[in-house]
Amino acid sequence: MASHNGNARFLAGGHSLIPMMKLRLADPGHLIDINPIEAELNYIREEGGEIRIGAMTRHRNMLESDVLAKHFPIFFEAEHVLADPVVRNRGTMGGSLCQADPAEDLSGVVTALKGEAVLRGPGGAERVVGMEEFHIGPYMTAVQPDELLIEVRFKVKPGGGSAHEKVERRAGDFAIVAASAALWIEGGVIKDCGLACSAVGPTTMHIGRAEAAVIGKAPSEELFAQAGAMASQDCSPSADGRGPVDYKRHVAGVLSKRALSRAAASALR
């Protein structure tokens, strides 16, 4: 990668990059196929109180993972509506996160779960960044040209529940709006919360104000409605073929509330 002076791209599943190349929107001089190291980077591990997902883990692996289903049901829900089953056989965790499409589902999931990205640079040096730091703009991430995303880590905390809500024009389409929610509830009180919305801003929208508003309170429909209203206000959608701004704001609120409600139900199960 270093030898190509930035005119190279890593190629994992190829389901973001190759369509861009076919439409002649991307024209890298060199492609470095990392599929041969899939064995090294395709894993879902539970260790040291963490879930670790390798960057080459295919969407299908996440959809079918018992470990994820147990700790983070949001993965099953999001992967179930992410693209289509054939694409999910190839597309990867790392590819989705690094493409950083603001309408992509998985970035919202990782944000809601407060995941951290592990980046490996020249000489094997690693650094760990949170999602706030990872997403720096539309289709732009903190991953440097000589770095590779190798893993995403999630802390397993007690009382966790999570859910993903998406409205799409048609199965397999990118979201009109999606909301990813995670809650950690102990003793009837929300100890921690993660809420992110997709397709309503230049990057995946982290709805911090809503998170703060629910932490320390008992879960209730009314509380989640307030959180939804904050998501509605704090997101910054733009109008496109999927809908106008007012609609997207409204749906961000509706889906945030629904995701939080279902996350609470799964936490209390």
């Binding site: 190829g14 190759i18 439409l23 492609l31 089953p85 054939v86 190839r90 199965a171 397999g172």
Partner: protein
Amino acid sequence: MLVSMSINGQTHSHDVEPRMLLVHYIREMAELHGTHWGCDTSNCGICVVLMDGDPIKSCTTLAAMAEGHEITTVEGLEKNGVLDPIQQGFHEMHALQCGFCTPGMMVTGRALIDQHPNPTQMTDYEIREAISGGLCRCTGYVNIVKAIRWAAAYEAAAATGGN
């Protein structure tokens, strides 16, 4: 660059441009025309083939990425002059009209049956979801669902020796 892979059990090796898509490798290099091409954006599923048994979109895979892998196309379904049950099911249930999406739909159905823990108990939703990465303009999918179910039932009956 030299790219080698197994297609339907036969080794193919050709010197191709690095940008060559797998679908074009299959059609132009291996000269297997049963795999078709339908869109530019990985939405239509016309080009689906199996890579190591999993359905993939061969228009969104570089030929070089298939290096060393096992590819199965529609031409690989029939064995020793006997149709695969999925082919037979598509015929029995009138699951094709123009035939253009049919190869992709059939290999997708083949993989679904192969990978399902209990193929005779597949729900309609499971089948519909499995084929939702492919578009068919002719059949309304109704008979494709029936065809996949037919093949699963046929194989179960054949396995128990009854009918």
